[in-house]
Amino acid sequence: MPFHDSRRNGILYLTLDTPGSEVNVICRATAMQLESCMRRVSPADTGAVVIRSAKTNSFVNGAQLMLAQAARNEDSAARLTEGIAAAYQSLREAHVPVVAAVEGNCYGCGLELLLHCKYRIASETQETHFRMTEIADYLLIPVFRGTQHLPEQVGLANAIDLLLWGEKWNTGRALAEGLINEVVPARVFESEVDGFVERVIAGQVRHCFSATQIGRVADHAEAGGRRNCYSAELKRETEARIESLPSAYRSLYRECLDLLVRAAAGERGPNHHARELASAARTASMEISKAAAGFFYIRQMAAMLPSLKTPLRKVSTIRAAPSSRFGRDLGSELEERIVPGVQVMRAGSDEAADPESTITLSDMEEKPQSPNQFGVQLGFHDTPPDLPDRVLYSPLFRSGSQLFEIAIRVEGDAAVSALAQYLTKAGFTVVLSKPQRALGFDQMLSAFLLPIADYIAGGGSAGGAAGSLREFGFIRGPRQLWNAVRQAGPLSQEIACPRRATALESLRQVDAEESGLDSLVPDAVCLSLLTCTPASSKAAFFHPVLADLAARELLDFPLGRGSLCRYLTKPTVARMLTRGSAIEALVSNEALAVAENFVRSGKEFYR
């Protein structure tokens, strides 16, 4: 059974451990067990219930994706979700205090579960984060009363940031905003939970169902009747931001905002839940939502590739000893990201470490091509010395990017698998590559920026290029990417030529993006990006899911298009090629050759 129940000193501990999975998920069987346990709880023999996880990396990561994919209308959405909804409601309606002891990811419907627990304590680990993934990752509206409880408990502004804009909160932010009651260090988490529960039972802890921010809004209302004004102002600001999104996304965001505003204005209970379900069912059938749901599987597959056919190795120590500036910055960053069971050692440390489970990061013998190319040798101490270098690369690290490329020459490398697992636990996204002539991220940045540069250099407007890419679905836009690339250090020769660099610089002067433009620039960009996929033998990303993950994380490739390789079907590429000289002026001869060959004799990336 997914929940293990145990009792100690009158406290019922329900410990979730989803079988056969690295993370916890709530399926209907899990929900049935939870509800059954909760319905049997009596104040006569139980002082409190503690919901916790047996997996240190995951409190609850999700539940509703498969349900959302099956939902056809409000009735089917209600039927499919009723089991989990009832289990969550049983937590909220319990006759004894329910405490969520959070360690690890608390995402999506895991966060909605949290919102049904009256008291909350969290362990201060790198993996303990709070995030509503529904819209940010799947373009879906949540179905377990998240749109109601978030405004109630953390206020409308925070609810908008979490749900609409996909903010990821660490424990400090969650504590500051009143989402949780307490944060404690991981090493004393268990004992601190016991103490916290004692204080809850003694009535010394304020429950989380009453929002601090709603309280502030109420104060405004008492002071000058500003509650509606506050909401109206926030609503107007948010609506303006929604208007700047690609047009295909706007109705989904407006619908979600409407739910949040209604809850903030006091709409509660079954009425609001019915409205939430109806919105969720309606939006789940939108093309952008159906396309986005598929990306979940691509992301998971990409994460599994480094460890395929590789025996699992435990890492206890990361020895970060590079002398480059990037290396030192990375070492500092890793030290701050606490991953239970792994210690980070810096250069000069004489602490003892088990060589069997130590990964060493150090400078590469060859000079790195860019300051952000963290040339490293890495490996367990018992790795054969003749294994070729692997390269760890994060071109936009200084701009806050959480994305790393690990370039390898051979697959099935235990050290790479272990390093990828560690970096993932530390909160980074890792993409594997096998470079033929250039690192995958460099190849992709060039393929993205070159058609834009040539369009502007050829007389096209920078605002037009940015506007048409926005309309295609790129939310972050080329201006932000160009800014980050400029800060990253030396540019590739292709981009650095004065004509192109000047053209890209003009992106920074764009005040307003133009709308109503045709799709020439997005077509050219996507055609150019075909050279970064397995359709080209010179691509570093040797599997479509790797190219897709890189395009999503590095370039913000639109979720609503599914993914780069799902979008680039043979008919789509064939259509792009029919644009003839217009597109030929913007993409390289190599890209044209790859595209023509792909249409003529290649096969689709996905069936």
Binding site: P19, G20, V25, Q69, A293, F296, Y297, M304, S536, S537
Partner: protein, 99 residues
């Protein structure tokens, strides 16, 4: 109407991929439900896609199969085999990458 499984080879490969994902040698039946009987969730479906690639030599995302039913409990071994048979039908093309 329920579709019969016409392609035994595809069915056997489908079962092999499911068993590989579950790390089991158990016998599977056509009507076994992946969610209710075999304990699949969305994460394990992603793992299954990797195993399917090993068996079929093609990357097949399963989201369209998942959204083809109005209840995840109707996702059976047989329905997956039929979906894969359709997805790989006429699959003789070779990916000629430009050198």
């Amino acid at each position: 109407m329920k579709r019969l499984i016409m392609d035994t080879a595809v069915y056997e490969k489908t079962c092999a991929a499911i068993r590989d994902t579950m790390h089991t040698a158990r016998e599977l039946a056509e009507n076994d439900r992946l969610v209710l009987d075999l304990g699949f969730d969305s994460l394990r479906i992603a793992t299954l896609s990797i195993a399917i690639e090993e068996e079929f030599g093609a990357v097949i995302l399963l989201n369209e199969w998942l959204s083809s039913v109005d209840d995840p409990d109707r996702l059976t071994v047989g329905s997956l085999a039929n979906y894969l048979a359709g997805a790989t039908a006429g699959d003789t093309e070779v990916n000629h990458a430009v050198p």
